[in-house]
């Protein structure tokens, strides 16, 4: 046995020498920024990857950028399907990654761990104060900064004014999820079963789960990366979701499908508990509904409780294989680190600024026609400081997948015993992710 072991050990060593060695994850030296003389003469072709509305946002600022940096020619690609796999393949192959790319917050740690992203710690220092610390935390790996925050996703409930008026529901009176449920039931009854309160598809239960868990102050991992999902907070969220579904107030429509976008302009769904960026989709897909929308804070779990959460948001990175780091950084800095850019992205494409120092701008106080005159921008800034922190790990996307699958199965089987479900989920995560279970877990507390 040990002979076999040695044999394989040796074989592995040989393979390792021939294939692995040049690719050890040794992060490159930190990027120090363009030299003082260089700044105006920086030149080159940049390829930038970004997704849908964000890509349009970058394109909109491109003329201004070109005026400032006439010698940098940037092309912005809307990255299509299988974003993560493609980016990872490019990192692994050492070729084909864009010079600058947008990533979801929870992804940053994963790519940073490969050692294939440019260490931006030195150049990012200057902007440290502009972004909240918990946002920076999602951009870091082992104490180094690898990404610059772009937008965040403070949450609220988007609602259709006409439906609320028709059935006499006052959004101002919905203070707790209990109120929200009651309103949903009333709506369902009054509309003859036609109008549901919100969309909660079997296949994507994780969206609401994650949003609510964060609002409730729950975690999937504790600070040390141990599995902490089996908690009373999670249980509370599950029970809430179960009551919504069982009361018939949810619509089973797949997110981002045609029926989903279609629901914006029909009576099938009354509200969308979502993040700020969702407004961009409303404007984009249902321009005809202008004036009919409003936003109210997430209902609290108990009176006086936290009424906000965060979902989504993104950061921008420069892969290590980028040759024109000065040009890439100049682009990133111009597009993301300037207050004017952050405001423009929000104004044009609803990407809510991660840069909190711009919130003082009077721009946030403008009443918006699309929302029937409500100053929705101000609304979203109000609670940013109160968003509970959620710990993200390197394997967050994988985790999300397992949570989604488990929840889907749980929902498919009639949403049985929530405690049992959490214990199963916890065991599954521990096994699949090879992580310890946090000491505070309900399964650990049980005698």
């Amino acid at each position: 046995m040990s002979g076999v072991r040695r044999l394989f050990g040796r074989a592995l060593a040989i393979l390792a020498i021939s294939n692995v060695t040049p690719y050890l994850a040794v992060a490159g030296p930190p990027y120090l920024g363009p030299g003082p003389a260089a700044s105006t003469g920086i030149a080159g072709e940049l390829r930038v990857d970004s997704w849908n509305i964000a890509a349009v946002g970058l394109k909109a600022l491109l003329p201004e950028f070109s005026a400032t940096y006439p010698n940098i020619h940037a092309t912005i690609h809307m990255s299509g399907a299988q974003l993560q796999a493609r980016f990872m393949l490019s990192l692994a192959a050492g070729v084909g990654a864009p010079d600058v790319t947008q990533l979801q917050f929870p992804e940053v740690a994963r790519y940073a761990a490969t050692g294939r992203l440019t260490d931006l710690t030195e150049v990012a220092q200057r902007y440290w104060k502009d972004f909240p610390e918990h946002v920076w935390k999602d951009c870091m790996h082992e104490g180094r900064i690898y990404a610059i925050p772009w937008d965040i996703g403070p949450c609220g409930v988007f609602y259709k004014r006409d439906i609320f008026e028709r059935y006499g529901i006052d959004p101002g009176k919905i203070e707790t999820w209990e109120d929200y449920l009651a309103a949903g039931q009333r709506l369902l009854q009054a509309s003859g079963g036609k109008t549901r309160m919100f969309i909660h598809p079997t296949g994507f239960q994780d969206v609401m789960f994650e949003m609510l868990l964060r609002q409730r102050g729950g975690q999937i991992f504790d600070e040390a990366g141990r599995i902490a999902v089996n908690s009373s907070e999670s249980l509370e969220v599950l029970q809430l979701l179960k009551r919504f579904v069982e009361a018939g107030t949810t619509a089973n429509i797949q997110f981002w499908s045609q029926p989903f976008f279609g629901s914006f302009s029909t009576d099938t769904v009354a509200t969308y508990p979502m993040a700020a960026w969702f407004g961009g989709f409303l404007q984009d897909y249902a321009p005809g509904t202008s004036g009919n929308w409003g936003v109210f804070p997430l209902p609290a779990f108990s009176p006086g409780g936290v009424r906000t959460s965060s979902y989504g948001g993104s950061a921008v990175v420069i892969p290590d294989q980028c040759v024109l780091k000065d040009a890439a950084w100049s682009f990133l800095e111009f597009m993301i680190c300037r207050p004017a850019s952050q405001l423009a992205h929000y104004q044009n494409f609803n990407l809510f600024p991660a840069m909190t120092t711009v919130y003082g701008d009077s721009f946030f106080d403008e009443p918006l026609v699309f929302y029937g005159g409500q100053a929705v921008r101000r609304f979203f800034t109000q609670n940013v400081e109160r968003i509970p922190v959620m710990h993200h790990t390197q394997d967050w996307l994988e985790t999300r997948l397992y949570v989604r699958q488990s929840l889907g199965k749980w929902a498919g089987r009639g949403m049985g015993d929530g405690a049992g479900f959490l214990a199963d989920l916890e065991a599954r995560l521990a096994r699949r992710l090879d992580r310890e279970i946090a000491p505070g877990s309900l399964s650990q507390a049980a005698p």
């Binding site: 072991r5 394989f8 050990g9 074989a11 592995l12 393979l15 390792a16 294939n19 692995v20 690719y23 050890l24 994850a25 299988q82 993560q84 796999a85 990872m88 393949l89 990192l91 692994a92 761990a113 490969t114 050692g115 294939r116 598809p201 079997t202 296949g203 994507f204 797949q254 499908s257 045609q258 029926p259 279609g262 994988e398 989604r404 699958q405 889907g408 199965k409 498919g412 599954r428 096994r431």
Partner: protein
Amino acid sequence: MGAKRRSLWAYRHFYLFISPFFILFAVLGLYPLVFSFVLSFARWDGLTEAHWVGLNNFVNLFGDELLREALWNTLVLGFLYVPPMLIGAFILACLLNTGWLRGRAFFRAAVFIPVITPMVVVALVFGLLYDYESGIFNYVLGLFGIAPVPWLVDEDWSKPALAILLVWRWTGYNMVLMLAGLQSISKEYYEAALLEGAGPLQRLRYITLPLMRPVFLFCGIMSLIGTVYMFDEIFVMTSGGPGASSLNIGLYLFNVSFVDFRFGYASTIAYTVAFFVFIATLFIFRFQRSEGN
């Protein structure tokens, strides 16, 4: 020794001619097989250092719910589409085998075109046909007063939706094989049967079907193996979703390899699956042969 060397020299052209193939084969066929086998005992993401983990990867196979699900989906999908596809291919082959048929080339071409169409295209078009609100499938169901079906967005319907697509795509292919089988049946059997006064159904029952059995078996097994390793169809159509309801082994392997970058574990799965598929195939063909005798 000298004689042997001389004979090797005498056949130098043989070795010369096969060497381009074998050199390439060694580098991109053989070495990868060994590499992947060794990797199956390691943990490696292709980026950071590899670690030797012994049999851990194989142990993990047992606790892998996704693998179990993928296996289950593969079986369900296989049994959903293979039987109707084989029956359809057989009927088509019989129809095309009719002696007096005109326009055979046209019909054969028509049912064969799906085989050569890029799968991406097929999947995208079917995506439109399956659309909940504007798709043809639900439109036709609506004509019969049947409620629309959430084809690709519901865990229970993703497999049937894929099965329909697979029947559409692969029936023509199997038809060609069946037609070849039918044409190899000697006319004498039928003439003898006619002399005995056997009707068309009896001829089918007692001549065609028994003689076609090996062809059916062959097509069936090949299709099932195809289902295990199928990739394009599912990757483009559903990406294995919703949930993991249409994830098969092929796509799961791809995901573990190039989405999760767990190269070691992926090799473990690949080898294990290949081993069992091989054993199963061998077993079935053995069984068939011994029964045929």
